[in-house]
Symmetry: C2
Subunit: 208 residues, 2 copies
């Protein structure tokens, strides 16, 4: 029903997360009719991105590539950060959330996936070796090095399992493995919080 070139665009758009055939059609028709200039710019931005953006060799964050060198992201390239903590996150978006909070000034490591028995993802599919290399590689000339690994995986079943696995795996290293707090979110209502969240808020209580 749609011209072939538009149909091809629809199939490619439908590969995006949480985008189905109908939404992809809506995007394609919008780009073709309301925003043709935007379509061209988007096309160029996509090609440029696939030419110049890779994963940081140290942490897995997105990074600009310069020639044939393995890319290093802006965070890993920043030598003024606190070298004593390394924050482990599941996804690049989680890294961005932690950065936005401005509550953390150390370095990161992106796992890319979580331990998930249900989806058949075991410990051997997590980049544990790369994590060890990152911990080892974070060293300053004055001897400062990683003292704490803050596990900021989500407080879900898979996220908790991954956190426990990391604590186990890094036991032999001289680092403190810590976990972000789970509890009632800022501005949240106790009335609408689920029992597990309330339970965690109580278990994680602290002195005032």
């Amino acid at each position: 029903m749609l011209p072939g070139k538009v149909q091809q665009l629809v199939s490619l758009l439908a590969r995006l997360p949480s985008v189905g055939e109908k939404t992809a059609q809506r995007f394609a028709v919008f780009l073709a009719t309301r925003d043709p200039e935007g379509a061209r710019m988007l096309g160029q931005a996509l090609i440029e991105m696939s030419d110049t953006i890779g994963r940081c060799q140290h942490c897995g964050n997105l990074a600009e590539m310069h020639g044939d060198d393995a890319p290093v992201c802006d965070i890993c390239a920043d030598t003024r950060r606190d070298v004593s903590t390394l924050c482990v996150v599941a996804r690049i978006q989680d890294l961005m959330s932690v950065e936005r909070s401005a509550a953390y000034r150390g370095y990161y490591f992106v796992l890319g996936r979580l331990l998930s028995p249900l989806e058949g993802i075991g410990a051997d599919e997590l980049p544990l070796e790369a994590l060890r290399r990152r911990i080892d590689g974070l060293r300053r000339d004055d001897g400062a090095c990683v003292r704490e690994v803050l596990v900021a995986t989500p407080p879900s079943v898979d996220g908790e399992a991954t956190a426990l696995l990391l604590a186990q795996e890094l036991k032999d290293l001289d680092v403190n493995v810590t976990r972000i707090a789970s509890g009632v979110p800022h501005g949240g209502d106790l009335e609408y919080a689920d029992p597990v969240t309330i339970g965690r808020a109580i278990a994680g209580r602290r002195d005032l």
Copy 2:
């Protein structure tokens, strides 16, 4: 936080309908990390589309451009269709829905917008002249021409207002202006249908 090229991609993706900053970031990170080949193909498809796809000069549907000729869509180019009815729809997606139903075999006209007092869209912003030209232009050598204009705008306030306007506007022509039925949808439950829908189903009842 994201490399500049990725941030630029995020801003362009956020122009898509119902896509906000967060969703655009998710799309961009997905394309950069999980589907880099798809990102390049999507980019090429977008550029190709903006080079080769335009609006049909007759009906406003999407159409492939060939050289400098004003484009004509596959439907308008198909001379085997029933020339006696012209279906008026609001959007290209609605045309596709009617086509999928296989209940209609005539030609189309895409308005592109609906009369909307709330959004300040008046009758002079609807392509009424182009609609008249389309009705006039649909003629076969044997004298067959448009006898019925089926208004398939949605049964919303704006869609109904547009349908009434079209009936008024086309009064001087020798065509029957008809309207799609509104009622309880196939497989729908009367219990959960809203009162207006039930009212329309009753008002539109027919003999068995």
